[in-house]
């Protein structure tokens, strides 16, 4: 794969179809096991719209197919969403402390100011 | 003769010790023992060791390094850091100041007080703030300890500063022979002259000696040229009464020469950490710092006799009177 193509797939994950959840339903559904509740997942520093990077998996990994593929080498981490289903991910590690307060500052690993995540703390 | 003398600190941005922005040079060694002393580390004429309890990790490295068995065994750091703790790291009477413990300490908890500096080393540091002196009428203040305890060195320091065109204040307690003080004061711009108590008995009670020599020198100094600024510490229940200050004002008024101004310096206890770092108990530790507004009233005793007087001695009060450079 050329340099351009390689990064294109990362960009598409960031800006492409994934970024466009449709309607209220897709935006509200948060699976019981999801990236947002995983220790390996860091919320993106540029935006709090739910996008983040995996600290284990690299771009090219796919959790949604029947046979999930795990890519561990590469220049860019896997970009996924807080509400992406991670039930089939073997690297899922549940986070112990989900901070939904939002008044403390920028900890991309722990900041969970999203309204949808709040309900898991109650 | 060793070149240089012991300096505890060269403090920049000093604004209370003479006009304008100044750099204070604190020389180590003082013949007096004022009980309220705010700079206890400047009293002894030799190097000393600070032990800063809050920085100490109680790792024991100093204990291992000490050849004289002059270090106490570690205790739990929280225990040692407690306000009321009496634990001290160094057993001072066994310590011969070999400083091996200071070298061993990784935490900066043990620190040497007193660095031997030459005239030029001091003046190079002082000159760093020259742009500030130029805009404020500031310069160097030689302080201590007691500068006159280092007569030859101070004369050289003053000569060096003169040749570099620096404005010089000398902060002295006046407790020395006139043949020492005389040559020193003749080429400084301002003498900050300490007056600790007018009554010799009371003086001796808190300072250790009577005040005859000090008052005698004050009269002599008045004829020599530099401006004289009287600096009077105000200590609770000792030198804080209205009547006392009326008498001081009268005394100063009757002197055969002009006193430029009087700075009243209210007692504070912010220096208590320094006593504890030296392993000394300080009886005045629990005496509360004075509210400067009380001292404001005493200032009036001097103003009534036409003196310029301040609380705390800002270098910028005087600047106002002069209308700027």
């Amino acid at each position: 794969m050329s340099r351009r193509d390689k990064w294109k797939s990362a960009r598409d994950a960031m800006m492409g179809p994934l970024a466009r959840a449709k309607g209220v339903k897709n935006r509200e559904s948060v699976p019981e096991t999801c990236c947002g509740k995983c220790q390996m997942w860091s919320e993106n520093a540029y935006s709090s719209e739910g996008r983040g990077t995996c600290r284990v998996l690299k771009m090219g990994s796919d959790l949604n197919s029947n046979q999930p593929t795990y890519v561990l080498e590469g220049e860019a981490g896997l970009i996924s969403y807080f509400n992406m289903d991670a039930s089939r991910c073997t690297y899922f590690t549940k986070m112990e402390l989900i901070d939904t307060d939002g008044t403390e500052c920028s900890d991309p690993h722990f900041r969970r100011a999203l309204r949808q995540m709040k309900k898991f703390n109650e | 003769m060793e070149s240089g003398t012991l300096v505890t600190e060269i403090q920049r941005f000093a604004v209370n010790d003479g006009p304008g922005f100044r750099t204070n040079v604190f020389l180590k060694g003082c013949p007096l023992r004022c009980q309220w002393c705010h700079n206890p580390e400047t009293i002894a004429p030799h190097r000393e060791i600070y032990w800063k309890r809050r920085s100490c990790a109680q790792c024991g490295a100093c204990l291992d390094a000490c050849p004289n068995d002059a270090v106490n065994a570690p205790i739990h750091p929280f225990e040692a850091r407690r306000e009321e703790s009496t634990y001290h790291k160094i057993i001072r009477d066994r310590c011969d100041l070999c400083l091996k413990c200071v070298d061993a300490c990784q935490y900066g908890a043990l620190e040497i007080v007193g660095t031997r500096l030459s005239v030029n080393e001091i003046l190079d540091e002082v000159e760093r703030d020259r742009p500030f002196y130029d805009n404020s009428g500031g310069g160097m203040t030689i302080s201590g300890g007691e500068p006159t305890a280092h007569p030859e060195f101070v004369v050289q320091l003053i000569e060096g500063a003169r040749s570099r065109g620096l404005h010089i204040c000398l902060d002295t307690n006046g407790y020395c022979q006139w043949d020492i003080l005389g040559p020193i004061v003749q080429s400084v711009d301002i003498v900050l002259y300490d007056l600790k108590h007018l009554d010799s008995v009371k003086h001796a009670e808190m300072v250790g000696v009577g005040n005859e020599l000090v008052l005698d020198n004050l009269v002599k100094i008045l004829g020599t040229g530099p401006e004289i600024w009287i600096r009077h510490p105000i200590v609770p229940d000792y030198s804080d009464s209205w009547g006392y200050h009326l008498s001081v004002a009268e005394f100063l008024d009757r002197l055969p020469g002009r006193i430029q101004r009087i700075d009243l310096l209210p007692f504070h206890n912010w220096c208590q950490d320094k006593y504890s770092w030296l392993g000394r108990d300080w009886p005045l530790k629990t005496t509360e710092s004075m509210d400067p507004s009380i001292v404001e009233l005493l200032v009036e005793a001097y103003q009534a006799r036409g003196f310029a007087a301040t609380t705390g001695g800002s270098g910028f009060e005087e600047f106002v009177v002069r209308g700027g450079h």
Partner: protein
């Protein structure tokens, strides 16, 4: 302090309160009833910690109105399509008049609402959807509306469009958020404005546009040639400008009608009735026609600022209101005596309050970086006229006095200090600082004028018109000097330069190979090799940001479109271009904001001294400690903190490295160019980006860990690490050239309130400032609150609502900022103690 009852508080005189330095109470007692009412009634729009205050809601009316018209006009040239949509909003958005208010205009449909710009970046749209607390009730219905809006705008926003044409590697790295922030579009930016042009009145501008159009249409009837072809695109742009200017006049007249209706049918108080009629008259007059008096000039100004925000997210508020309004104040108060000083002060005070009131939604990263406020609204005061003579006037003084009465944290002031400033004006600045406002910051005018000429070649008369484009950067306000779009995203997280030099360009926080592979430092043979790696990382980091922003800039007219701003930009009106089109004659005034800069010098000094000069540690040992985030290496960490030289102590070892780094950057700043082919100098400052980036920058050799706040100023030493006092800090900062070594350099200092009390305090400060100027520094700002007050405010925030601190580039209420920032501020060394 908090123990007293309300009654004893009342009994205290203003003098007593001043002695206690209870400045908020002093202000309450000394301001007029009107100002008191307006100040207390205003909604706080800045976030508290990271969240908006309860009751603050996002405005959905605005995007709905806009989008319905926008969809209707689909297929038109973007500027025209947008002009129709904005006009539709201005004709239909609910308006309101606050009781006792004299200055009209608000962005949004109700005073508790904040707006955003859905057309900028779809990620922000989604963030709003996810945000708790700001969705208007009933929530379900609002979420449905938002989802529909977001579904439509997803992929259609300016940044979405930009991301499709950027190099994909650049796009991903930029949007990781690790190396910089901002949005490379004028959807979130700021513009300087030329009021000498704008105050001709919108009718005059319309006439000018009409003339241009007629002239152009005639040309288009002539002989065909390639020269005619670009003209076809100009006509719809001019038409768009006309549409928004006309809609703006109608918007003002809606206020006039409302005020008149209230006066004639509802108001029983004769004084207020008279005021309402004056408001009606004012809004009839401006912005259509030139202002004739102070109320009209302030109203015109505020309409322009509000209208600009109907078009875009103006994150800053570049302005020089004393210069703009001074002549009207002089006419009303001094010459015609139409107004008393007190009446004028009411208007000026309300001008500050109405500005403070403006609320714009900021995404989380911006709220962290700009804690407690809506934007970096730094107004410029003082300075010189184009001929170099003193520009301070009575209005300068009035703004300083009003600021002490209303005590808002936003706008703040930056004062253009120069040797000819009169003592009475300087005293007013000092009073504001002494009252703990944290502003004005002091700017060295001669240095900054020279700097502006040096970097961009602005003629000196033009350079002298400068205003703060954001917190720090001077920008002229002339026909060719005005900057329509601050290059908002060229904001570099500079600590990454040293971090990447240590990690061969890899970023463990975002799990990405970011910078170039400059080698494993364990293999480097000497410091020079290490420094070479740093230089390469620095160049890479600047390059990627500048590339992104340059592209965002030239594509802005195509991707976003600014009909309103174009209509008030002389060169855009003249040429029929979008104001943001860099080809219409602007000289360029780009800069890279350098967040977290000083860590580089301190880290390089520690490496040079301990690894290469003294060989106390090997690079292996250092890397091991850094990879462990210093955990388990605490002794070593403290050694690096305490025994390596630190910037700000007048120590040449590290200061020389700082100068060397700045010179490398300045060399590079002339190698990468903006779309107007001008330079990109560095401007070290932090706002509160030092907190935002705390968890994005890994362990560094200066002794910080991942998670620790970075240093808090652009060029300020690390908090607590300046051991030699304020004069040594100034001396360190004076070692580089503030004209040629960068664009501007933010310096925070905390001075002791007791030291600066009374006349002697003023004299001390004045002598200090004189030396600051002699040393050639371009900036300094002061905090004047003592630790005890700040600690008490942490403990009982409700009792200390009004304590203001300066947070690196702007001021904020202390209780509105996060704990980490609060601690960071308390830790900032107090300089000197009386």
């Amino acid at each position: 302090m908090g123990q007293r009852t309300a009654q004893t508080e009342k009994a205290l005189s203003v003098d007593e309160l001043a002695n206690r330095r209870e400045w908020w109470s002093v202000a309450q007692k000394t301001r007029s009833k009107r100002l008191d009412y307006l100040r207390k009634g205003v909604w706080k729009k800045g976030a508290i910690g990271g969240n908006y205050a309860p009751g603050i809601k996002i405005d959905l009316t605005l995007p709905q109105l806009f989008t319905e018209k926008w969809q209707e006009q689909e297929g038109e040239p973007i500027m025209l399509q947008k002009a129709h949509a904005i006009a539709h909003v201005l004709d239909n958005i609910p308006i309101f008049i606050t009781d006792r208010s004299q200055i009209m205009g608000y962005i949004g449909s109700a005073p508790h609402q904040i707006v955003w710009h859905w057309q900028g970046i779809s990620m922000v749209n989604e963030e709003i959807y996810n945000e708790e607390g700001i969705i208007p009730e009933p929530e379900e219905e609002s979420l449905e509306i938002l989802a529909t809006l977001n579904d439509y705008w997803g992929g259609r926003t300016a940044v979405d469009k930009l991301a499709r044409i950027l190099d994909p590697e650049d796009a991903v790295k930029f949007m990781s958020g690790a190396i910089g922030w901002g949005t490379p579009t004028s959807a979130a930016t700021y513009s300087t404005k030329d009021f000498t042009y704008i105050f001709k009145g919108f009718e005059a501008l319309l006439a000018e546009i009409e003339e241009r159009m007629e002239e152009t249409e005639q040309k288009l009837q002539g002989n065909p040639s390639p020269q005619l072809l670009p003209l076809y695109d100009k006509l719809p742009r001019w038409e768009a400008m006309q549409i928004v200017l006309e809609a703006s006049i109608r918007y003002a007249k809606r206020y006039a009608r409302l005020a008149r209706t209230l006066a004639e049918h509802f108001e029983s108080d004769p004084t207020r009735k008279e005021e309402l009629l004056r408001i009606a008259e004012t809004c009839e007059r401006v912005p259509a026609k030139p202002p004739r008096n102070l109320q009209e000039s302030l109203q015109f100004d505020h309409f322009v600022q509000v209208l600009a925000r109907y078009e875009t997210f103006e994150g800053a508020w570049p302005h020089r209101p004393d210069y703009v309004h001074g002549p009207y104040y002089d006419k009303d108060v001094n010459q015609e005596k139409r107004l008393t000083k007190e009446e004028a002060l009411d208007l000026v005070g309300e001008h500050l309050i109405r500005t403070y009131e403006v609320g714009i939604f900021a995404p989380k990263w911006a709220r962290e970086g700009l804690q407690g406020i809506t934007g970096t609204w730094v107004w410029t005061m003082g300075g010189v006229k184009p001929d170099g003579s003193d520009a301070c006037n009575d209005m300068t003084i009035a703004y300083m006095q009003a600021a002490r009465l209303v005590r808002v944290s936003n706008p703040t002031f930056g004062f253009r200090w120069h040797p000819k400033v009169k003592d009475e004006v300087l005293r007013e600045c000092f009073e504001c600082i002494r009252h703990g406002l944290g502003y004005p910051s002091m700017r060295n005018d001669p240095v900054l004028v020279a700097n502006t000429v040096h970097w961009y070649g602005h003629p000196v008369e033009e350079a002298r018109t400068w205003v703060h484009q954001a917190c720090m950067s001077p920008c002229p306000t002339t026909k060719y000097g005005c900057q329509p779009m601050r290059m908002a995203s060229a904001t570099a997280n500079c600590a990454k330069m040293i971090e990447y030099a240590l990690h061969d360009g890899y970023d463990p926080v975002v799990n990405m190979q970011m910078g170039p592979k400059t080698g494993d430092p364990r293999q480097f043979k000497d410091f020079e090799e290490f420094f070479g790696a740093w230089v390469k990382q620095m160049e890479w980091l600047r390059n990627i940001l500048v590339r992104t922003v340059n592209l965002g800039r030239v594509k802005d007219p195509e991707f976003f479109g600014r009909p309103f701003l174009s209509a008030i930009y002389e060169r855009a009106v003249e040429t029929g271009t979008d104001a943001c089109d860099p080809s219409n004659g602007e000289r360029g005034n780009a800069w890279v904001t350098g967040f977290t800069w000083v860590e580089n010098a301190d880290s390089l000094a520690a490496i040079k001294k301990f690894v290469y000069d003294e060989k106390k540690y090997t690079m292996d040992q250092l890397m091991e400690a850094l990879n462990a985030n210093w955990v388990g290496y605490e002794e070593m960490r403290l050694d690096f903190v305490k025994n390596a030289p630190k910037w700000g102590n007048d120590d040449d070892y590290v200061d020389d490295l700082m100068v060397r780094c700045l010179r490398e950057v300045s060399r590079h700043a002339k190698e990468n160019k903006c779309p107007s082919n001008n330079n990109w100098p560095l401007l070290p400052e932090n706002v509160s980006g030092n907190i935002h980036y705390a968890n994005l920058v890994g362990a560094l050799p200066n002794g910080r860990r991942l998670g620790d706040a970075l240093y808090d100023g652009g060029i300020s030493p690390g908090p607590g690490l300046d051991k030699k006092g304020p004069t040594a800090v100034l001396k360190s900062c004076g070692k580089f050239d503030h004209v040629t070594d960068g664009r501007a350099f933010l310096l925070n200092q905390r001075l002791s309130p007791t030291q600066l009390s009374g006349e002697k305090g003023y004299q001390l400060w004045k002598a200090y400032m004189k030396t600051w100027a002699d040393l050639g520094l371009d900036h300094v700002q002061f905090n004047m609150v003592d630790d005890a007050t700040l600690r008490a405010a942490q403990k009982d925030p409700e009792k200390y609502q009004e304590v203001i601190v300066r947070v690196a580039g702007y001021s904020a209420h202390f209780v509105d900022i996060s704990r980490k920032t609060q601690d960071n501020i308390i830790q900032r060394t107090v300089q000197g103690l009386g």
